[in-house]
Amino acid sequence: MAEITKLVHKYLRHDKKFPHVWCPGCGNGIVLGAMIRAIDRLAYRKDDIVMVSGIGCSGRLPVYVDFNTLHTTHGRALTFATGVKLAKPELNVIVVMGDGDATAIGGNHFIHAARRNINLTAIIINNNIYGMTGGQYSPTTPYGMKASTAPYRNIEHAFNIAELAVTAGAVFVGRGTVYHARLLDKLIEKAFAKRGFGVVEVITHCHTQYGRRNRMGDAVAMMKWQKEHAVRVEKSADMSEEELKDKFTIGVLVDRELPIYTEQYALVREQATENLPR
């Protein structure tokens, strides 16, 4: 335990900005820890990492770590990240978004970044709600659940973020939870190492907003819920539809190879330069 704490300490900023803004029991710290461990294992240099975020609780995540960090406007993390990657293809660009940020306000950017296969990694922290702004329902709030803007129940159907990413063309898609911390470490490391657009959806809990309104208990109870409802993707193949009814799969959903935008773009540039009239 002490070693892990020391490791995280190595990557945190020490000049200012603690305590952090997250509620006690929040899963965001687990996600940040998993990211730091993956970065350490891959031996990335701090100078070569650009961490980009949007708005929300997840948006504050890059503030605490000692990388090049960029906190953008709501839903536009991927657009800024695309700009950074095109200008500086040699940098490792990591984008952290919430479910609302990635699939509502930035929904279009998300599917098109996946379609283009830009060489960066998107970590989407899915807590089923807009936590920071006051518990409004998001595109991932399940049907029938409550939110501050749906006090009776949510009548919209939820997005499945990971499946959306698969369909949109991401080359690596994984889903994990903050309960399955070791699996999350592995998924995030794989996504970072993957060349192309990698997505990891992290199922987490917002006991302050979502859990409280839906009587799901505290952070521990909600993590137990994750344990009980998550099924390894390998195991789910042998299970019936009835058994999988209120479950979700975790693990690597897709790992494939497609031409990468940044590389293709460099080739087109080369071609265009050769054809310049002189």
Binding site: P62, V63, D66, F67, N68, T69, H71
Partner: protein, 253 residues
């Protein structure tokens, strides 16, 4: 107005309006240069007429174009303070990947770039944003004067309307009418000094606009009752023609 006041909170901004196709090129270059020099967003505010105009232009040789670059940090990374106040108000901008690791945010931030809610950090920050623009009005505020020296009738116009106004002033001069044009290239920060100097001795000032009167309000504000300010507005989706401005000039002469 959307360009100047389109966000919440307060901030200065530079707004430039092109009036021809060639102008669009030059002003875009200018906008990038302002943006690099003052580290601020610059809005190139084109209108529908300029946007739809097709005409032949000769672009300058790339070597002849003035290109300014942002100030880069020269100190070692551990001494670098990304939003430190300087005499110009424009801090040096480190580039991601060069070793200057810092935080960039859309929130109000302290000199290290971290979000802050401290009043003693927010006020100096806001004042710096305003100061860096305010102390450079002479560089930022661009106007073109056309026959304004002895003019009794002044037309103040921007965008495509400035082009119509120029034609109308030329035609009116041929008829012996002492007309002149003050063409505003920079809309914000509003070129108050130039406007006041030009309209001080004018009998009547006309502000033709393709809206119900947005810059005319600014002109009236700085005019402070010195001259009579008239407006000519079109909101029917058509451009203001030279004839309309010419007719007004003849009527007022």
């Amino acid at each position: 107005m959307q360009a100047r006041w389109g966000t919440h909170g307060d901030h200065p901004i530079i707004v430039l309006a092109p009036s021809t196709v060639r102008d669009s090129f030059d002003i875009t270059v200018k906008a990038f240069n302002f943006s690099e020099r003052y580290r601020t967003p610059v809005i190139v505010l084109s209108d529908e007429v300029v946007a739809h105009t097709r005409e032949t232009v000769v672009l300058p040789d790339p070597d002849e174009i003035e290109v300014l670059d942002r100030i880069r940090p020269s100190m070692p990374p551990e001494w670098y303070i990304p939003y430190e106040d300087t005499s110009s108000g424009v801090p040096a901008m480190g580039i991601f990947g060069d070793g200057y690791r810092y935080h960039v945010t859309g929130l109000i931030h302290d000199i290290r770039g971290f979000p802050t809610a401290r009043t003693d950090e927010i006020e100096p920050f806001m004042k710096r944003l305003f100061r860096k623009i305010n102390q450079s009005f002479h560089d930022i505020q661009i106007v073109n004067r056309f026959m304004t020296e002895d003019a009794e009738l002044i037309v103040i116009a921007y965008g495509s309307v400035a082009r119509s106004a120029r034609r109308a002033v030329m035609d009116a001069r041929e008829k012996g009418v002492k007309a002149g044009l003050l063409h505003l290239v920079t809309l914000y920060p509003f070129p108050r000094r130039d406007v006041v100097a030009t309209i001080r001795d004018a009998r009547v000032v006309l502000v033709p606009e393709m809206n119900m009167g947005q810059i005319s309000r600014e002109v009236k504000r700085v005019n402070e009752g010195m001259s009579r300010v008239a407006t000519l507005n079109r909101i029917d989706g058509c451009m203001i023609t030279p004839q309309e401005i010419y007719d007004w000039l003849i009527k007022e002469a």
